[in-house]
């Protein structure tokens, strides 16, 4: 009697597992672009060019990108988004004015009011390049700003290495850890913001404790 029940239970669990597996594969396999309007054109070489306008949404390799306008060039395997761009990906949520994504190389460029809101940090800048294959993000332009753990800082360039849980800030770095201010040519923020390593000309200003 118990063996029969066990067999039934095992069978049910197996079916549920198969269902979940198939459902997951289906979600992973989703690759599409939707919009209110799509214009299909072809280049001189015959490659498709698709312009999408209004409520544009692209699902591609576990990324969801939305915007006002998008242009997909099949020959180059490049998609460009313009206006109110928002991208949800494994590293967090990215918003910007414009975004260009090279599908083949998994390389992304975002420009204008770039803001990345990740679980452990937040970065603001004018420009971003992101190499998804090595999970390296480089923020540049008009003093990029980062909040990482208890650290806030500005720099000419901020490189975020997600795999290593660290950020490298270079060029006119200035910032604050709790109430301690610092300046340096380059700093590395390690261990999710618990540790800072400074290189080059560095200056630390500790807060004076008032009694």
């Amino acid at each position: 009697m118990q063996t029969k029940n066990f067999s039934k239970l095992a069978l049910i669990l197996l079916l549920i597992s198969i269902f979940i597996l198939m459902f997951s594969f289906n979600i992973l396999a989703q690759q599409n672009l939707t919009a209110d309007q799509l214009i299909f054109d072809q280049s001189e070489e015959g490659a498709a060019i698709i312009e999408a306008t209004n409520n544009v949404k692209m699902i591609y390799n576990e990324m969801v990108i939305t915007g006002d306008y998008a242009k997909f060039e099949q020959g180059k395997q490049v998609v460009t988004f313009e206006g109110n761009v928002k991208m949800v990906m494994e590293s967090g949520e990215l918003t910007s004015d414009n975004l260009r994504y090279e599908m083949k190389n998994e390389y992304l460029e975002a420009t204008g009011n770039v803001l990345l809101q990740a679980e452990d940090y937040k970065v603001e800048s004018n420009d971003l390049t992101y190499d998804r294959s090595i999970k390296e993000m480089i923020f540049t332009g008009q003093q990029a700003y980062i909040e990482y753990g208890k650290i806030t800082a500005n720099a000419d360039q901020i490189k975020v290495l997600n795999e290593e849980n660290k950020a490298v800030l270079s060029g006119n770095v200035s910032g604050q850890q709790r109430s301690n201010k610092f300046k340096a040519d380059q700093i590395e923020i390690l261990n999710n913001g618990d540790k800072i390593e400074m290189t080059g000309s560095a200056q630390l200003n500790f807060e004076s404790i008032e009694e």
Partner: protein, 189 residues
């Protein structure tokens, strides 16, 4: 008294049968003649046959693109204002070069409105592209082709689906439109 004579009765019966038979034959013959009238009207039959042998040629406004429309059965209605075609197939040419070919279940050409509408399982082949829809209308006044219901464009790399499309007669640039419930969609193959 008179009919008591058996021979005379027999003769009278034969006569009556002959008369009744004659009348019946006359009626039968008249009915057959009436049935034969449409069949004998060879003019209309010849007109339909004659129309099926015509290739309908339609041009865009600047006469650069020509549609050659053919059909298995073509019926002329409304004094030649409307042509109703079954199983139409068409070829589009630009400067004698073929642009695309297509077919559907039915086509209606309205001469006064300058429109041709095709319906039912429409498939258009353009190079490596296949455009499918349930209905298309070519308005010759503005040379715009619109398609609706089950619109699908298949290329070797992509599939586009939408509720409707509009395009110039050349079909070089196709605009797909969706709705709030069903947006136009591109899927990578």
């Amino acid at each position: 008294m008179y009919f008591k004579d058996k021979k005379k009765i027999f003769l009278a019966t034969i006569l009556i049968l002959i008369v009744v038979g004659g009348i019946a034959f006359s009626i039968y013959h008249e009915m057959n003649r009436e049935e034969d009238i449409p069949q004998d009207n060879t003019n209309s039959t010849q007109e339909k046959e004659y129309l099926t042998n015509i290739d309908l040629e339609l041009y865009n406004n600047d006469k650069t693109i020509m549609w050659n429309l053919d059909s298995g059965k073509l019926v002329r209605e409304d004094e030649g204002n409307i042509y109703n075609m079954d199983s139409p197939s068409f070829e589009a040419y630009e400067n004698e070069e073929i642009l695309y070919t297509g077919h559907g279940n039915n086509a209606i050409y309205n001469n006064s409105e300058e429109t041709i509408s095709l319906s039912g399982n429409i498939e258009i082949d353009k190079n490596k592209l296949l455009l499918q829809t349930e209905r298309i209308i070519w308005n010759q006044k503005d040379d715009i082709i619109t398609g609706e219901k089950g619109v699908k464009l298949t290329s070797p790399e992509l599939i586009i689906t939408s509720e409707e499309f509009t395009a110039p007669v050349s079909l070089n640039r196709i605009e797909f439109k969706g709705s709030e419930n069903s947006r136009a969609k591109v899927e990578w193959r």
